[in-house]
Structures are given as C-alpha cells and as structure tokens.
Amino acid sequence: MFIRGTGSTRHDAWWRSTRLSRRAVRVAAAMSASAALVLGGVVATSGSATASVRAKPKGSPLVVADVAPFTGVDAALGPTYLVSCDAVTNAINEAGGVLGHPLGCKSVDTRGDPADAVPAVQQLFASTPNVSLVIGCTSDEAASVVPIINARKVVMFCMTGQSEFTHIKFPYFFRLVPPDLATADAMVAIAKYHTHYKRIALAFGNDIGSQTFVTPAVQAIHKVGLDLVANLTLDLTATTFRTEAARIVAAHPDVIFTEALGSADATFLSEVKQENHGKPIPVIGTSATISPTWYSSVSKAVGATYLSKDYQADNLVTLTSGPAFEAFKRAIFSMKGKVGNSGNFTTYLSAPGAVHLYDGINLAALAMVEAKSTTPSVYKPYILSIGNGSPGAVVVNTFAQGVAALKRGKKIRYIGPGGPTSFDAHHDSPGIFQIDKYGPKGQVIVAGTITTSQLRSVK
C-alpha cells in the first residue's frame, strides 16, 4: 500500500488529471474555513462588545468601555464587569438616559497582559469617538492603560488595588476598591482575630494583580507574630501544581492565603486536598475570589462543602438590604439569562466588580447630568461632590432618583449598594471590610466584619 509496485504511476496520473479541480476545492475549503474562523472571532468579539442600547433616549449613544481581561487566566473579570455595566446602563436608559443620550457598554479585551492592553485601548479610542467612561482597568493592565486613558481625558473607575495609585495622581482615575495593601492586611486580620490561625501559607498567582498582595501580606504576618510557613508563586499557565501542593502540605499550615485565578486555584486546591489525604486545609481568599466563575470552577474541583466550611474572604462592606440594594438587585437580575453565567447568579450581588462598578457608572452618569455635559473634563469634579456629598445634599440611591432631585434644583449625594463613598485627594474611596463565606449553594454569606482597630493593628 505504501511501497509502490513497479511501473505503478496511476496515482500520479490521476492526481495530475484532477489537479485543477482539487486545487479549486482546496482553495474554496481553505477560504471557507478561514472565513468561518475569522467570522467566528469577529462574532465573538462583537458579541461581547454589543452595545446594549435601548431606543428610549433619542441622543447619540455614549460608550462605557469595559477595559478588562476577557480571555487569558483572568478571563472571568471582564464578563463580571460587563454584567454590571449592562445592568446599570439599562436602568439609566430606562430613566431617559444621560441628557437624552443612551449609554451602551463595549468590551475591550486586554487578555490580562499589559502588553496586549495598550494596543487594545489605543484601538478603542481610535475606533470609538464617543467613549465617555472607562471601567475595569484591573491590576493586570492598570499600570499600562491608566496613563493612556488619563491622557485622553476620559474618566475611569478602575478595579486595581495597586498601591502606586495612592502616590501618583491621575486626575481622571477613580476607584471604589481598596489598595491591595489594605486587602492583604484584612486577610491577616481575619487569620489573627477571627479564626486564630497561627501558621500561614501563601499561594498567589504570578500575575501582577495577585502578586501585589504578597509583600504586604508577608509584612503584616510578621508584624502580628504569625508564622509564615510557605510562600509559593503559582504559574497561572501551569497545568498542575502537585509538587507545589506537596510543599504546602509538608509545611503544615493552618490556613492558605490565595488568589490564583483562571483554573489555577481549582487545580491547586484540589491537589492540596488530595495530597492531604482528602482533608481540606482552610483558605482565606482575596475579594477577587468572590466571583461566580471562581466559585464554579473551585467548587467543582474541591466540592461545595469545602468552600462552605473552610473558605473565607475579605470583601468591602456592601449593603444587603434597603432601597439602594433593591434597585441594584433588580438591575442585576434583569441580566439573568441574558449573559453567560456559571455558578450562583446571586454571587454578582456581592462581587466587588459588580457592586462598585455599578456605583461608579451611576456616579459618572449623575455627574454628567448635574454638569449638563458628557465631556469628562467638565463632569469629573461633580463625581466628587455627588459621591462625598455636600451640605444640604439629598441622598439618592438610584440614577432616576438623582435626576429627579437635580431637576428640582437639589444638591445630591449618591449612596449605592457599595455604601457611602468618601473620595480622598487621589480619588480613592477605600471603605471598610467584612468577612464573606460561601453558602452550600454558592450564595455569599457575611460572616463578620473587620474592625478599624483590628485592621490598624496589622498595618
């Protein structure tokens, strides 16, 4: 079959005689395949980039750009923010939009890589003239994209905790999440004061966003006299962490502090459990682990019982009742079934990216209305006055309430599901921490709060 007999050239002759038609078929097949793949990619990109604009407001649409990872190891972040963005912009559009303009959300995939983020953001501005607000900008890409967005004079609400933004002032940069330094302190405070663990192991991913927790956590652990028994950096592109798990188990920690997104924590924790003969080691996660996607992947790997019994995370205090929370809940749940989701949908109600970006977009939209301008340089100062409040300001919990109060000539203070904001000179509004757990079905349960004195003692 494979070794030709003497004089056997029939195959070659047949091949020559049919060469043209076969070539045509091949070319057609190649073009079809390429077209299908390219179109698939385009559809996927535009699918997530579709502006969710309602017809109600008559003005030209304004774009809220969700600049975050949609692919790569932190791929869960961008879609979480997009759920919140779609939810709040729908609510704003139903209330008439911003000065008659509808808002729509557009996803910009940074792949969680600063090098990929820069061209993605430049392309955003080159192709989208009506960008009024940027959200997302996680620690993965903030250092590279914040200067660009700031230079474009576009307001941004970022989800980065990087401490450099408390030192360098970018006038258009705002954030409603605490610096990673404070988050690491809060993790240590949970171990010290709430669970009384003594032996701590650190296992953080090797991405920028996760690594920023390590140094402050190590310092805080030493400060309060706990033992750091292991400190491993997990390669998020690795396929297994068995040796890393063996090292952790051999160190006999009471608790593991972790943030390794993508599939890493799921694989790592399941291998730790396996190495520890099926016995789970308790985990304290960062607020990034309060996420439906993280819960879904990790609970599948280690079991929901592990997470409901042996997992805690620090998270900013967010409201769980009242008019602001109810409006937020309504908006988020209007997205149920319309967005891809894994895990328990109610987790979005506690996910920092969902809560704080909902507030950020509302703050920016109300600032535009009060400033009577959608130009960022004009409306930016109003974010501070609406967020921090001013004497005699009326408290509003939704965009619609805010617009109504402004029409009556009132000053307003917006308090959303993330609670009252308090912007400082660097536009940081750090907030206070609570301890979250997962319930048996993946719902988030508040297990306690971290007091200011506890937090201060570990600094």
């Binding site: 070794i3 690795a238 599939s263």
Partner: protein
C-alpha cells in the same frame, strides 16, 4: 513522605503527558518536514470536542478516542488545505513555521470564539488508588501513565516492525530517494499526518485530564515544553522524544520542590541549553 519523592512521582506523570504529545510532534516533524507549531492548538481543539462528548455522558477514556479522531481529522486537513499548497510552491521551512504560527492563532482563537474564554473540566472519577512506596497514585494518574506507555509501545512497534513504519523511516531519512525506491511518499506523509494527529488529539485529552481544567489558550506554554523535549531528545527521533519528555518532566517537577515553582519551566530550558551545548543534535540524535 518527602517533597522530593513526591516530586519524582509527579514528574513521571507530567513526563507521561509530555511524552505522548512529544512523540506525535516529532513523528510528524520527521516524516513531513514541517515544524508544525499549530500542534498544540490542535490538541486543545480536540480536547474541547472530547469535553463536549464527555459532557454528553460518555466516559472520559472513550471521549479520548473521539479526541484522537478529531486530532487526526484536523491534522489531515491542516496538511491538505494549508501546508501542502505551500510546500508545492517550494516555500522555505521558515515560511512554513510562520504559517504554522498563524494557524496556531486561527485555531486557538477560532476555538475560543466557539467555547468562550472560561475553563472547562472533564467529568471523571479518580478511580482506585495504588501505593508505590510512600506515594499514592490515583486511578486517573495511573491511566495517564498507562496511555503514555501504550503510545510509546505502539509507536515502537509501528516504526520497527511494520511496512508503514519502514516507509516512514525511509521518507524521513530521504524523501526523494524513498520515492525513487518506489515508496509512495505522498501517501506515507498523509498517513503520518493522520496518525500523529491522532496522537496529538489523544495528548490534548490527557493534557486536560491531568490539568484538571483547561481553556482555549492553555497549551500556549505547553508547546514550548514539547519543543524542549523534542529537541532535547533529538528532533525527529521518537525515542529521543520519550527520553526528552522524561528529563523535562522530572526536571520541572523536582526543581519545583526546591525553588519558586513559577520558575520550573525555566529549568526545562536550562536543561535544554546545557544539553545542546554538550550535544547539539540532542540526546539520541545522529552525531555530526
């Protein structure tokens, strides 16, 4: 149990996954003369199809056969639709490498367009365990090692004792001479693409099983490890790929027991560089 002993055992499992992938890759390269960097992307695409089959209720080991079939089909199409036209136009080897890089992106992001950016996991039981000394292997891990051994034996039998294997070796050594000797080299090349593609698809599923979960871009770094194993053993040398995979698998896992584990892939390349300085043609490559 010491971490060192555990890392040795883990190294064997990692080496098994790497060995399956490396054997297919080097077989493909030896006979077809194409350094197909899209190999890892085909692995991932095959793993995804197997995942869909697995989610439909099919046992993961049966799904692996589906993955192998998908890998074979994709590799066949890749050769017929993409590489062969370039080769017919006398494209240089470096051009083909660039084309394969392009195909990597097309397949990888094409897969991502269909399945999304999040990771998936096979539904599978770890099965019974087996204690070897102080280390306990799970059933799934033993299965992976068994598949690797079976693949290596199958490739050995193929290239040593079959007519096709002889033809493949002849085509790999000198394609023009083989053709003159009456070997249907075009057909041998096509069959090699199919067989190595099947091994590639199988490697994709085993990779997904071993990793616990995988995404469309999960094999981005793994292809570099495949290259390291292949070139360490000697490019185009199936036995070399087996040895290379073992060295790289053990090297990365054992090093992770002593240094920051995110540097373990760096160790693989330190081993490769040191080896290539001492023996440029690889461990089992022909002496120059």
């Amino acid at each position: 149990m010491s971490v060192f002993v555990a890392s040795l055992a883990f190294g064997v499992i990692s080496a098994s996954v790497l060995a399956i992938a490396s054997i297919g890759f080097t077989l493909q390269f030896a006979v077809t003369n194409v350094l197909n960097l899209a190999y890892a992307a085909v692995m991932t695409a095959s793993a995804y199809v197997a995942y869909e089959v697995n989610q439909a209720g099919v046992v993961v080991w049966v799904s692996a056969l589906v993955g192998a079939a998908v890998g074979a089909t994709m590799s066949y199409l890749l050769n017929r639709v993409v590489y062969t036209p370039f080769q017919r136009r006398k494209a240089s080897p470096i051009t083909l490498v660039i084309v394969s890089l392009g195909m990597t992106l097309i397949i990888e992001f094409g897969t991502q367009a269909f399945v999304g950016g999040t990771n998936v996991s096979y539904t599978m039981a770890n099965g019974p365990t087996l204690g070897v000394g102080s280390f306990v292997f799970t059933g799934a891990e033993l299965g992976i090692v068994a598949v690797a051994v079976a693949t290596m034996v199958a490739v050995h039998v193929l290239i040593r004792y079959t007519r096709l294997g002889k033809a493949m070796r002849a085509a790999a050594a000198n394609r023009d001479l083989a053709r003159v000797c009456g070997i249907r080299t075009a057909r041998v090349v096509t069959v090699t693409w199919i067989l190595s593609g099947a091994v590639c698809g199988l490697a994709g599923v085993v990779f997904g099983m071993n990793a616990g979960s995988f995404g469309a871009t999960s094999t981005d770094i793994f292809v570099v490890l495949i290259l390291a194993a292949v070139f360490l053993g000697g490019p185009g040398e199936p036995y070399g790929a087996m040895v290379g995979a073992l060295v790289i698998g053990l090297g990365t896992e054992v090093s992770a027991a002593f240094i920051q584990p995110d540097y373990k892939d760096v160790i693989a390349f330190v081993i490769l560089l040191v080896m290539l300085v001492a023996r440029p043609t690889g461990l089992l490559g022909a002496r120059t």
